[in-house]
Amino acid sequence: MKNVRTGLIAGLGAAALLALTACGSATPPPTSTSSASVAFKPADQDAGSAITVWADATRVPGIEAYQKAHPDAKITIVTYSGDANGATDLQTKVQLFDRSGSGWPDVAFTANVNDGSWASQGKTPYAAPVNQHIIPQSTLDGFAAGANDPCTFGGNTYCLRNDLAQVVLWYNKSLMSQFGYQVPTTWEEYQALGEKVAQEHPGYVVGTAGDAWAAEVYFWASQCPASTATGDKQVTVNLRDPKCTRMAGLLDNLIAKGSVAKDTVFSANFIKNTAGKVLMLPGPSWYGQTLFNSTFKTPAGQIAAAAPLKFASDTTTTTGNVGGGLWFVSAHSRNLQASADLVTWMTTSTDYQATAGTYPADKQAAVAWLANQKETGYFANDVGPVFQAAAGQVWPGWAATQYSQEAIYASTVVPALNAGKTITETLDSWQTAISNKAKSLGYTVNQ
């Protein structure tokens, strides 16, 4: 026993000595970060080499269709989570590949719209700046205005947007006419109608504040500076701004009245008890098929989409955005040509994108997609003009960041709501949570 103790003390002593002989800083300044001035240096190219593609199961049939159309293409498909629902598999694996110095997939799809923020950073960013002689400018110009904002860092485009998730006002046309209500066009009208619904038809809802993405649906649309990029790794976070408090007040009022739910639309409770009582629901374009059709099983011919709401005092309409996938070409790829060709086809092919589940970011593909939606006959009105207009109205003041605004809202505001607090009361702790998280990842935070 004595020997064990002596050994232990000797070991601890040695460790302490080693620990004290420090000669560097625990946080050395990064050697270099990406910037517009640095020209992209590709790896040695090998035109005939096979490429590896990482994508989620939803995208795999598309890649297989590409292979069929291009029999010469040598592609290895790896199915992974696609970073859906807040997973961080791609980043985790890329961090490990960065350490081991090999293994990066040539092409990667991610369902996390924020992934460009880390993939464009670092000594050798994982993502290649595709605007630098990899994908022609004419192709990039074919995307909806602002669609590639989450890919743009320091003037370079580091990915191609797969789909848009512009927020519109979903409503149940049958219920609205049954109750004799007009579809609102401003947030003020929306609030008035919400109060009326609470009184005349208790139990029916006009929105939800318990979704992780509620911040993006309501506060982004309200132009709240919760995530405004002011430079490379610099953000402004100011939830006390009047553009935030006006939305917080509106939601608090309707939550108190009962016509805005505190639950998330995907919870078993909401699907069971409230799905049939959704009168209106501001939400992303993918709510149509994914939520109303597949999850709520609302019968065809009831659900319609209206233009995003605006505040009466604002001159223009702005809206939010909830997600949307990205396609990366790896900066380490030995076959940029083949990688770029696949990514271009996946995002812009009208044949493939027309059948996709979500609204394509490429304008031509979107036209084909909308025609296809019309054919399904699910919606009670033509969602085309609404979707197309909203695609260009996403407020550009909300930047993609390395941290997830959804995770912060879900872990800060949602528990507070369920504990009986209001959003307005929670703004300060929400602000602190965003600033803390941003600072921990090396961001400079201004208020």
């Binding site: 026993m1 880390w118 979704d211 879900a410 528990p415």
Partner: protein, 310 residues
């Protein structure tokens, strides 16, 4: 990184009358038996630990920085809350484990001899499920709208999953999950340990007029001390490393549990969100030191490694 303490391998009892070659052969066989384990222990236990210690003491450029990474991660706004979460969880989990496991195995051993085999199997069953799968099962159980025990959750006043997994409930919820998945194995082990207590001792106690309670308190539990200590060390180590439960419940609730709830999650955030492997290593070394310190206290206090022959 696990902090499983491994008792020193013993070679067979030495037969003093035997000749030398036989003794050599025996110890050779002993080495052969432990060699496979030692190789794996080195590759997946010792070397990664040494690498983590090195990472914790250096920076991204490979320079030694002393305790820089430790002070830096200690000052992180999530570090102390994470320690507090895990501390509370450990208090609940370790006391539940100690009391319930000992109690259940004593009951199985003493009173329910006939049904005990079936009950032991039942207790052990959840532990046989893979850890992640059993947590997934709990995600359904905890959602009042989907749970087969929804009436119980409603009776407690919880109508939605969000209300069930409110921040204040988490340590107890994770304890319930951990108990359900992990306690069965320990009950089986404790039952085995109870079987090693010689029947004559228990019979003597009975003849002397000891009640069941007295037998348990004066004879069985004291003779189980080493086993309980062993359970305590392993449960403490695995408890401080809590990861799967908060991570999965967080994913299932769209992020309602902060991503740095437990120190191990925080370490994961450092490594894979911030790309800061040195900070991540510092936190994991913190956990290693905690686990070792607890093990040292328990080992020295209970004489876990003392040999029986004095």
């Amino acid at each position: 990184m696990t902090t499983t303490s491994v008792p020193a391998p013993r070679t067979g009892p030495v037969d003093r009358t035997s000749d030398r070659p036989a003794r050599g052969r025996r110890s050779l066989a002993g080495y052969a038996f432990v060699s496979g384990y030692v190789v794996l222990l080195l590759a997946f236990g010792v070397l990664p630990t040494a690498y983590a210690v090195w990472l914790a003491l250096s920076n991204s450029r490979g320079q030694l920085v002393g305790v820089g990474n430790f002070t830096r991660t200690f000052a992180d706004y999530r570090f102390l809350p994470a320690l507090a979460h895990i501390g509370l969880y450990l208090v609940v989990w370790l006391s539940a484990l100690m009391v319930m496991v000992v109690l259940l195995s004593l009951m199985l051993h003493g009173r329910m001899r006939r049904t005990s085999a079936a009950l032991r199997f039942l207790f052990y069953l959840p532990g046989a499920l893979a850890g992640v799968a059993s947590v997934l099962l709990w995600l359904i159980l905890l959602d009042p709208a989907a749970s087969p025990v929804g009436w119980l959750l409603h009776a407690l006043g919880w109508e939605t999953l969000a209300q069930v997994i409110a921040p204040g409930h988490l340590p107890v919820l994770f304890m319930v999950i951990a108990f359900w998945t992990g306690a069965g194995g320990w009950i089986v082990i404790m039952y085995g340990a109870l079987n090693t207590i010689p029947g004559e001792v228990l019979e003597a106690a009975r003849i002397d007029g000891a009640s069941t309670l007295q037998t348990a308190l004066r004879i069985q539990i004291p003779m189980l001390t080493k086993w309980i200590a062993y359970m305590l060390i392993l449960a403490f180590a695995s408890g401080t490393q809590l990861f799967v439960e908060p991570q999965l419940v967080s994913t299932a609730s769209w992020g309602m549990i902060p991503d740095g709830w437990s120190p191990n999650q925080l370490s994961y955030q450092y490594a894979f969100q911030a790309g800061d492997f040195n900070g991540a290593a510092a936190i994991s070394v913190d956990l290693l030191i905690l686990g070792l310190a607890c093990a040292a206290v328990v080992v020295f206090r209970t004489g876990l490694f003392d040999r029986d022959e004095k």
